[in-house]
């Protein structure tokens, strides 16, 4: 009854009113007043309340204002003086329609997000399913893979129910030797068919755990990963997949080259937070290839991991869901990995994702076919079409050039009228995005991420759209470091060219405006286009700054950890002091004085860490410290054997509280834009950091 009344209300009262609000034509003056009223109302509402209902109302107002703008665009601005104008005019319109649809989809996806809780495992261990941990690798160095395997061995789960397998598609002898020494399973195969998906499918024929946990070879898990994820599988027999966030403890190229140490949410936070939580609400979480648990019987039903596309992960999830299996997303960081190190690797990775998503769009379109709910279709549609953003982004970048350089006018109508419709639409969409997920992505940064990628994604997306069977899997390079700072001209060449053109257009038009006697320029449209071009130019320059690769020398991550340690000296004296920070290769401890503190005569040879997590003893060598701070002693580790290394992993990466998402300041669009300007300034003129920029981790307090 309630539902019926609601539907009736929506249809009979709300719909006509909304339609009227959307289509009612207004003069520029009235429309301005209307727009400003909407903006002020939203800001006031937003300041007054943090409630979800208010957010929803703000979204509704935003959708109304954007729809009103689109209606205006479609009905009043499409008169063109010539064919050329018409072609470009429709291109821009298409780009705007794309953005409008994406806005609607993202509102739908993000408005209702599910904050899933950990389902505890039953106390009766016999009910716990058996788990196979797969660590697929292809060409990554052993140095990267090793700690991942050791961390998997630290997982807290009954020994007889947990098996760990290193799936080496590179057929490397040293990997086999390592697996034997570490006492984990080693699986390799004679061919490399279907890349990662094939590797996983092959392993599935050789093992038999009820659940399969997958970690990419650089994703180091915490010990509570299985305890946090497996419970849900016992509770819900139709659950096929539990995905957890990919968290990167090394800076990605954008963080390293553009944030320059500032506290700005990294690029993938939005996806592994609001987006996947929103998907989860509609039972449409998709698999991201790593840090996830999958039910074997569900995989068996769809014939294993999907091999048709280069993003086997998302496609596999789609297949599972078509069969009625459920998927879930747990928003707890339970593992940490390495971000792509350089811009060029970042581009290659996104290139693959883009191709894969378009492949799914073509080969297994979520709108078509059986088995999905409407909401699921929309969520998957949003994911599979996401990478088409490249073309509209470029259209928006280039459009102001048309008017400024060639006088092509592609939007019909007066500047005032256009602005009166467009401004509320633009302001409100920035504003409600900020309200919706500002803590996960600051305003305008999304555009920068898009611009970084866009020129490189046009070709792959378009080609794949027409030839979906074309293309192969490329593995993202991980674990390398940028040895020396350099400028990756190649990756930002298109950006440089467009920036140059924009700058040229701006200068050219300004000159023209200043000489009204010689040139006939309309002030309104010219000013508008100059403003637009300048905005584009700023974002482009930010994207170019990402190509200025900052050196990142430190090979391993360092964390701050305060635990008591004992040091052994050559004389046999054993002294207690405090560890201050630790990495896989060395550490820093408090210096001490007393009868044994002449370290030149009586060097420190070993260091013993005793905490509630682990106790280990390792050979050390004192090293000189750059800062010459007498309060500390610096050591590097020598002769670390595997057992000791595993204990280091346990201490560094395996703790339940290893990864904590920092609390970022609330987004403010104006502040965010200013921050972008500061980042650009520092990147171009500021002192660039040459030492390590590492993502600090909250140190575990012992005792």
């Amino acid at each position: 009854m309630k539902k019926f009344l609601l539907t009736a209300f929506l249809l009979l009262v709300a719909a006509p009113i909304v339609t009227l609000v959307v289509i009612a034509p207004m003069s520029a003056h009235n429309q301005f007043i209307f727009g400003i009223t909407m903006i002020i109302a939203c800001i006031v509402a937003s300041v007054c309340s943090k409630k979800h209902f208010i957010s929803f109302c703000i979204l509704v107002v935003t959708v109304i204002s954007s729809t009103r703008y689109m209606f205006f665009r479609l009905t009043q601005t499409l008169e063109f003086p010539s064919l050329i104008d018409m072609i470009f005019g429709y291109l821009l319109l298409a780009a705007e329609i794309y953005v409008y649809i994406v806005l609607l989809l993202s509102f739908f996806q993000l408005s209702w997000s599910l904050k899933r809780k950990i389902v505890p495992l039953p106390s009766d261990e016999s009910k716990w399913p058996t788990v196979d941990v797969y660590i697929p690798t292809y060409n990554e160095p052993l140095q990267v893979v090793r700690d991942t395997v050791l961390a998997a061995q630290c997982l807290e789960y009954p020994k007889d129910k947990l098996k760990i397998y290193l799936l080496d598609d590179g057929k490397r002898k040293e990997f086999a030797a390592f697996a034997t020494e570490a006492n984990v399973g080693y699986i390799t195969r004679t061919n490399n068919f279907h890349a990662k998906a094939g590797n996983l499918n092959h392993a599935m024929t050789l093992t038999n755990g009820e659940l399969i946990a997958i970690f990419d070879c650089d994703h180091i898990t915490t010990k509570i990963f299985l305890q946090s994820t497996v419970g849900e599988f016992i509770k819900d027999k139709r659950l096929a997949l539990m995905q957890t966030p990919h968290h990167f403890y090394s800076p990605d190229p954008i963080q390293r080259n553009l944030y320059l140490g500032r506290d700005i949410p990294p690029e993938n936070d939005l996806f592994y937070g609001p987006i996947q939580r929103g998907n989860d609400n509609w039972n449409a979480t998709f698999f991201c290839g790593s840090c996830a648990v999958i039910r074997r019987s569900a995989l068996d039903e769809i014939g294993g991991f999907a091999v048709e596309t280069v993003t086997e992960d998302a496609h596999t999830a789609l297949r599972l869901q078509r069969r009625g299996w459920k998927t879930a997303f747990l928003d707890h960081i339970l593992s940490g990995g390495l971000a792509t190190e350089r811009l060029i690797d970042h581009l290659a990775q996104r290139n693959r994702w883009a191709r894969g998503m378009v492949q799914i769009f073509r080969l297994d379109n979520p709108l078509l076919g059986k088995g999905l709910s409407l909401a699921q279709r929309l969520c998957y549609l949003s994911a599979t079409t996401y990478f088409f953003f490249a073309i509209p982004t470029i259209i928006f970048l280039l459009t102001p050039l048309l008017y400024l350089l060639f006088g092509i006018s592609i939007v019909h109508g007066s500047v005032e009228l256009l602005l009166s419709y467009a401004l509320p639409h633009l302001v409100l969409s920035v504003f409600s995005n900020s309200r919706l997920y500002g803590n996960y992505r600051y305003s305008f940064w999304g555009q920068i991420y898009d611009i970084v990628l866009s020129f490189h994604l046009v070709l792959p997306t378009v080609v794949t759209l027409f030839m979906p069977h074309h293309g192969s899997f490329n593995v993202t390079d991980k674990g390398q470091t940028v040895e020396k700072s350099y400028f990756d001209v190649h990756s930002v060449k298109p950006h440089l060219i467009v920036s140059f053109l924009l700058l040229l257009a701006i200068v050219f038009s300004l000159v023209k405006l200043c000489l009204p006697n010689y040139f006939d320029m309309q002030v309104g449209p010219t000013a508008l286009n100059i403003f637009w071009a300048s905005f584009n130019l700023i974002l482009l320059i930010a994207a170019i700054c990402v190509g200025r690769e900052t050196a990142n020398k430190r090979k391993t991550q360092r964390i701050f950890l305060e635990v008591p340690v004992n040091v052994y000296q050559a004389s046999g004296a054993c002294t207690r002091t405090v560890l201050r920070d630790l990495s896989m290769s060395g550490c820093r401890v408090d210096s001490f004085d007393g009868p044994t503190s002449n370290f030149n005569e009586d060097p420190i040879t070993d260091l013993e860490i005793n905490s509630d997590i682990t106790s280990l003893c390792v050979n050390v060598q004192q090293i000189a410290d750059m800062h010459k701070d007498p309060n500390y002693l610096h050591f590097s580790f020598v002769n670390v054997d595997l057992d000791t290394r595993r204990e280091f992993v346990r201490l560094l990466f395996s703790r339940a509280d290893t990864w904590v998402r920092p609390n970022y300041k609330k987004d403010n669009p104006l502040v965010s834009f200013f921050t972008i300007l500061c980042c650009i300034k520092d990147s171009l003129f500021g002192k660039r950091r040459t030492d390590d920029i590492h993502v600090a981790v909250v140190g575990a307090k012992n005792e």
Partner: protein, 264 residues
């Protein structure tokens, strides 16, 4: 106050070291401590700065009130050396100890004083003194070395027979594993063996640390010799645990050695 006996089937395992440093730890935190040496080696006194030429001791006054001959070593800290002795004197001493309820009756002024903690050091293996004190002793601490030879001692201790009747009284006996050295694999294995077999009866472990020998050479506590010594810290932790087991309050457990010092 309670009586703690530190004894061991084996010599040179750190009994005297532990006695001395426990005594220092307790006295520093405000408890009155009397250390009694029942070992004819008469070496315990050397840990307390008693001069080599001082030959006084309890062996010559078996039936007198010992408390009058306590040597004051430090604030709160007293010591009764064994004394220089010959065979006859020791025989007479042992004979005296054999009297039933010797400790309860003859030395009541010392052992019944509720304000005093008594820590007794013994010669290795079976001795008459150890046998006699068993009737009044509250807690027995058995130091053992973390070496391969100790493993057989462990099992003999566990299965009974070795120190029966000597260490069972009061709250029972506790093991201290001395001279642990985590650089050595065998040593670590012995530690694990002790951990799994003695469980809660393992009072603690003390690092092998030359600060201990250096401190003994200078007749000071290890803590006073080097406040950063790992062994000193370990023994202080053991003292805290002993206090907890015996149920008396040692300044609410604050440590002399701060486990997490800030750099100065």
């Amino acid at each position: 106050m309670p009586i703690i006996s530190v004894c061991s089937p084996k010599g040179g395992v750190g009994k005297t070291t532990l006695v001395a440093n426990l005594a220092y730890a307790f006295s520093k935190s405000g408890t009155k401590v009397v250390v009694i040496d029942f070992d004819p080696q008469n070496a315990t006194r050397l840990y307390f700065g008693v001069s080599l030429t001082d030959e006084r001791g309890i062996v010559t006054i078996p039936n007198k009130d010992w408390i009058s001959s306590c040597i004051n070593v430090d604030r709160n800290l007293y010591m009764l050396p064994f004394g220089k002795s010959n065979k006859e004197q020791r025989a007479i001493f042992d004979e005296a100890l054999k009297q039933p309820n010797y400790f309860k009756e003859v030395q009541s002024s010392l052992f019944d004083n509720p304000d005093i903690l008594v820590i007794a050091d013994f010669a290795p293996g079976y001795t008459q003194a150890l046998d006699s004190i068993a009737t009044v002793s509250n807690l027995q601490i058995v130091p053992l070395l973390a070496d391969a030879a100790s493993v057989s001692l462990f099992s003999q201790l566990l299965s009974g027979g070795l120190m029966d009747g000597l260490v069972g009284g009061g709250l029972g006996y506790y093991i201290v594993l001395n001279q642990i050295d985590n650089r050595i694999k065998l040593n670590r294995e012995v530690q694990n063996f002790a951990l799994t077999n003695f469980k809660d009866n393992l009072l603690g472990m003390v690092h092998k640390d030359t600060n201990v020998t250096e401190a003994a050479g200078q007749q000071v506590s290890v803590y006073d010799y080097n406040k950063n010594s790992a062994a000193a810290f370990d023994m202080e932790v053991i003292a805290k645990k002993v206090a907890q087991i015996l149920g008396f309050d040692v300044k609410k457990g604050t440590m002399i050695i701060n486990p997490l010092r800030k750099p100065n």
